[in-house]
Amino acid sequence: MSPKKIILRFDANVSDKPIIYRLVKDYDLVINILKANVNPSKEGTMVLEISGEKYNEGLEYLKKQGVRAQPLAEEVFRNENKCTVCGACTDICPSGALYLERPSMEVKFDSDNCIVCQACVKVCPVRAMEVRF
């Protein structure tokens, strides 16, 4: 099974539960945490890349714990016609999806590493980074 990207949203009462541990231990899932954030009111967001045979059972477990899981439906992409290859996004991107190739100094976008935080969408001086639903 190819890895699937999902976004998890959970409330304060879930924040202290070891849900990722259970997904690995009980459901034998291979998990790559692309992004994790718990805000001051202890509500959390997590972007995961998951693969494993018990994927559906794992999702069922999350649901029972009160975790809202949904596939990553939004995708950030680069409009190549607009991009001026300046590089201003490359130190703003937190996951290294946007980076400079050296020594050519070409700006590269590796969408596999994109966590859809959309920081680049606002920062891009020529609005070349776009969100697709």
Partner: protein, 401 residues
Amino acid sequence: MSIERTYAEINKKIQNGKAVVLTAEEVISLVREKGIAEAARQVDVVTTGTFAPMCSSGVFLNFGHSKPKIKMQRVWLNGVPAYTGIAAVDAYLGATEVPEDDPCNSNYPGEFRYGGGHVIHDLLAGKKIKLEATSYGTDCYPRRELETYITLGDINEATLFNPRNAYQNYNCAVNLGNRTIYTYMGVLKPDLGNAHYCSAGQLSPLLNDPYFLTIGMGTRIFLGGGTGYVAWHGTQHFPGIQKDNQGNNYGPAGGTLAVIGDLKQMKPEWLVGTSYLGYGATLTVGIGIPIPILNEEVMRCVSVSDRDLYAPIVDYSEAYGQRIPGNLGYVSYAELKSGKITVNGKEVPTAPLSSYPKARQIAGILKEWIQKGEFLLTEPVKLLPSYKDGIAASTLEIKGI
């Protein structure tokens, strides 16, 4: 005997298809291999390029006369105001102008999605632009208002005139403060979270002619994808040499150019409307300047590499805005391009605002034009002030009235 060439001799070779042209990037390895004297013998022209936001840009427009005529007192193009304090249907649209209803930074950080630079880009893309004008009405210009659509092809003139472009060198911007700041140097993260620079370095036009030996008034250039000319030195033209407190030399500082050209023959990919989050709208301008290798001294100047060129590191959280002199040291463009520099003992990731690949492309296009004999060099009518002129920046003091 050392080589000497005239503009006329170089142009003759260009017309005969025999001129040897290299980009400012290509010439570096040639000089390393053969030395300055031999490289000067071999090469006739070196091309440079830069593609970066340049705020002091804009276009003079003449719309032609409506029936009945109007003496335009206020003008808007797609909602962006243009300056009309000139003749009846002339206006100057500045790159950083934004619509009167733009929330600007009242919704901090403002997005500045559309401004004068974007209108220029849309004109070049052949789009229809909404033109609105109002006036007080005169006996000879009775109309008081109009609303219509124009395209670049419809109007009489569109003359790009940029009072300050092609900065010779620029600051490397950092943030020593404890909150994210939004500047014309991009988003700067707190506590030295990142460093932004904005120069094509070894490809940059004025870093390849640091003493203004060849670039002057009337120099024909690549401007916005078409041809243009150097009109004058730019505003804030301070072509000094950077020195640290110990008197060490860090190369050229802040020369600038005023450039002019017919917008109608330029291309939208080389004049791009640009927005800086929390700062404003502007225009990204593509400029390429040919440097005639008149002698060995000119060849020595164009042979500089990123390792020889330095930017001052400046704190934009306080020092810049408060006009506090000094800087946090100098850093070479080679270090800046490596992706990290060290500031105050801390490793800081870097990112450029000036597109090096596009600068390389511009230098390549200009090289091709010259090789094909389509682009001849012009001898400046007047050279521009250099470090020898000792120009110092004036400041604006707030005086009581």
